[in-house]
Symmetry: none
Subunit: 238 residues, 2 copies
């Protein structure tokens, strides 16, 4: 699996820290690593965007005052990106002014802490957000009309029978199961499975769709993946 699509279900959680003050940044990174997180660091908005082209963090901590752009602007850009849009964001600020707090939360941050922030509280809030964004169930199962995907076991079964899938097929099916009945455009699929900036052909998606269809066909679920000409594919019911 490439670094690009690194996601967090079975592995450690990735946290991206965006903070220009080196001392604070390193201190946070240190604490987070000690707690078992994988950390990625950025000292500016642009560095952050660069990082986001290479990692899909599970949570982002953003300093309000960055040298090149405001934290708010960075949040805006993240929330507009199709792939990472939903990542939880914790804002960090030196000013205790309430208007900032409110502004940050209104504009897309999920949480807000005032510096000097207690590491303990930051950790607790990070864990609270991760807990929520990764679901409550201990064993992550997605189910849709007889197709059951067990993320922990990395297994898929159709009407009880195990389905043998390659990794790409698995990820593809997972994407479909997470968005049943929704049209997934080709480039959307590309972005989510291969990452934002890979040089994979459009047609490659088709081939993998074909392979996934074949796998489903063996279990009499032939017509589950519907083609929408000119746009993409859709997982449908029957």
């Amino acid at each position: 699996m490439s670094t690009l699509t690194k996601k967090s279900t079975e592995m450690q959680n990735n946290i991206l820290i965006v903070e220009d003050d080196m001392a604070i940044r390193e201190m946070m990174a240190f604490s987070l690593r000690r707690e078992g997180f994988d950390t990625f660091k950025a000292a500016s908005g642009h560095e952050a965007l660069e990082q986001l082209n290479q990692v899909n963090p599970d949570l982002i901590v953003i300093d309000w005052g960055l040298p090149d752009m405001s934290g708010i602007d960075l949040i805006d850009m993240i929330r507009r990106d199709e792939v990472i849009r939903e990542v939880p964001i914790i804002m960090l600020t030196a000013r205790a002014e309430e208007s900032d707090k409110v502004k940050g939360l209104e504009r897309g941050a999920d949480d807000y802490l005032t510096k000097p922030a207690s590491m303990l509280e930051l950790m607790a809030r990070i864990r609270a957000h991760l807990r929520r964004s990764q679901g409550f169930e201990a064993n992550h199962q997605i189910e849709y009309k007889g197709i059951v995907m067990d993320a922990d076991a990395h297994e898929v079964s159709v009407d009880g029978e195990l389905l043998s899938l390659s990794l790409t097929e698995y990820k593809l099916l997972k994407l479909f199961l997470q968005n049943p009945n929704k049209l997934l455009a080709r480039d959307h699929i590309l972005n989510h499975i291969w990452g934002r900036n890979t040089f994979v052909e459009d047609r490659t998606v088709d081939v993998h769709i074909l392979r996934l269809r074949k796998a489903l066909k063996k279990h009499n679920k032939e017509k589950w993946i519907q083609t929408v000409r000119g746009v993409g594919y859709k997982l449908i019911n029957q």
Copy 2:
């Protein structure tokens, strides 16, 4: 729809306030109602559980120190309940002690505020949580007199029956649905569907209108697209 299953997509959000201090409770309720939320109140843990048997709130604000049980215990019970388990919870406390904060977050609260809490900040945090718990899944539908276009599924149905459309027809219909009862000039249509500088004939629009009309005809919606001689077309109500 029964009160029990009241969920929040189309209607106001329900907020449950669990707080024993009447002054604070009423103040919060007042502010929340003014902001357009539906509020439900409980002065104790037991009252809260009673309320939860009747309403499914979209978010719960819980005071740390309740007369009959600790807020933490209440959270535990909520998180163990199959139905409401995932509701966002904001803890409220008079003590500023950090250990409480951390404990609350570790045990299942999603957020934590210290009293005296600023109403503005509480509102902002409530909205941030609601946005996350429901905002991302808004499904984009356009509806006009029995024609329902689901942008996520890329589907159109007429009186429940699915309509099969080519991409251009789909875009055309979308344009009409976005501007019902409005006259759409030919060049307006051209600009919106083919782009500003394409070399497509005016007459091409007619052909696609024809095709769209045919598709609608199959579902007894023959006369929906009206010709306005010399100008363009209009989507009308039968």
